[in-house]
């Protein structure tokens, strides 16, 4: 069913599509980051596509790949009942992809979360701030090179309690 969507994207954005594949009937289109917003706009506006439901936007860190950060978007059409997954990759030097929050208002906080956790910037986002962590947090914790044991706290920690605390008396 979603084959029609893949064909539509390939037809309209021939130079943008890198590949497509399907897993258990769910179709994925891998595109270049440049015209991501135009593709999503087409999927949202076109009568044949009519993706009115934005499901999810997230990112994946592939430390071994040259284009390290992969942004994944899930869309669903309630009217036609079809789904599509769009992936696009950006390098670590300038991890910037176009924002789709102007098309789907619900994408706003998802993009902020992806920025918070991975440091991927969304160009055109109206208010790209951290959403879950506090402003002074250093680094992006879901990046694979974030140290696993690194701890940050917005307030200074107190000195640790003595190793042998005062014992409780035996109850009769």
């Amino acid at each position: 069913m979603s084959k029609k969507v893949v064909r539509g994207i390939r037809k309209g954005f021939k130079d943008e599509v890198l590949s497509d594949h399907a897993e258990h009937g769910d179709f994925t289109v891998v595109v270049k980051p440049g015209k991501l917003a135009d593709i999503v706009r087409y999927l949202h506006d076109d009568e044949e596509m009519c993706f009115e439901h934005f499901c999810d936007l997230t990112a994946v860190d592939w430390p071994d790949r040259e284009e390290r950060f992969e942004v994944v978007i899930h869309l669903h059409s309630i009217r036609h009942g079809h789904r599509i997954r769009i992936k696009t990759s950006v390098g670590a030097d300038d991890p910037t992809v176009p924002s789709i929050s102007g098309i789907y208002g619900g994408a706003n906080w998802f993009e902020r979360e992806a920025f918070d956790m991975y440091g991927v910037r969304f160009e055109g986002h109206p208010d790209l701030r951290r959403i879950l962590l506090w402003e002074e947090f250093e680094g992006h914790p879901l990046r694979k090179d974030y140290p696993k044991q690194k701890r940050q706290c917005p307030i200074p920690l107190r000195e640790q309690p003595p190793a042998q605390p005062e014992p409780f008396p035996e109850r009769p």
């Binding site: 879950l132 962590l133 506090w134 914790p141 974030y146 696993k148 690194k150 701890r151 940050q152 706290c153 917005p154 307030i155 920690l157 107190r158 640790q160 309690p161 409780f168 008396p169 109850r171």
Partner: protein, 167 residues
């Protein structure tokens, strides 16, 4: 303490020390502030309910303002982002005050050994009693409450907590 458990006849008297009497009164009238952040709350509610009946220990009245409370229950996971809030609420509690770390997460961070979670509330505020368990059984909670009562009884009210650490 020398209070006789049998009902004293009218006009009779008991001998005690003022400090003991104050401590005795304190330990049986704990007003508590539940700082409830996660699933341990279910066991906390269970302990408060009629089956286990925390009212037996004089600790049944929750106060929804820390300024009216003596005892803060930190029930559940505390994230790093929650840490300033917890410390502020702790500072708002009036003296004398006591802290319970309810459950593994509040005590040590539990299995949330990651960037987001405070690895035990004793990193930011002093704790009187830790209750292990994920979540702890109500019996454990009552045991901890009795431990706290023992501690309150032993504390000298005149020197109570003024000399203790304040974060």
């Amino acid at each position: 303490m020398a209070v006789n458990s049998t009902q004293p006849a009218q006009g009779s008297w008991v001998v005690t020390q003022v400090e003991d009497a104050i401590a005795w009164a304190r330990k049986f009238s704990l007003f508590q502030y539940p700082f409830v952040t996660a699933c341990c709350a279910m066991e906390f509610m269970s302990t408060m309910g009629p089956m286990y009946d925390m009212a037996r220990f004089g600790a049944e009245a929750p106060r929804w303002s820390p300024r009216q409370a003596d005892l803060i229950w930190v029930v559940g996971t505390v994230t790093n982002r929650q840490a300033p809030i917890l410390r502020r609420i702790y500072n708002q509690l009036a003296e004398p005050k006591w802290v319970m770390a309810f459950g593994t997460c509040a005590s040590t961070g539990g299995f949330y050994d990651n960037y987001a979670v405070l690895q035990g509330i004793d990193k930011i505020i002093p704790v009187d009693v830790y209750i292990p368990g994920c979540p702890p059984r109500p019996e454990q909670v009552l045991d901890a409450l009795m431990m706290l009562q023992d501690r309150i009884q032993r504390e000298k009210s005149s020197r109570m907590r003024a000399l203790k650490e304040r974060p």
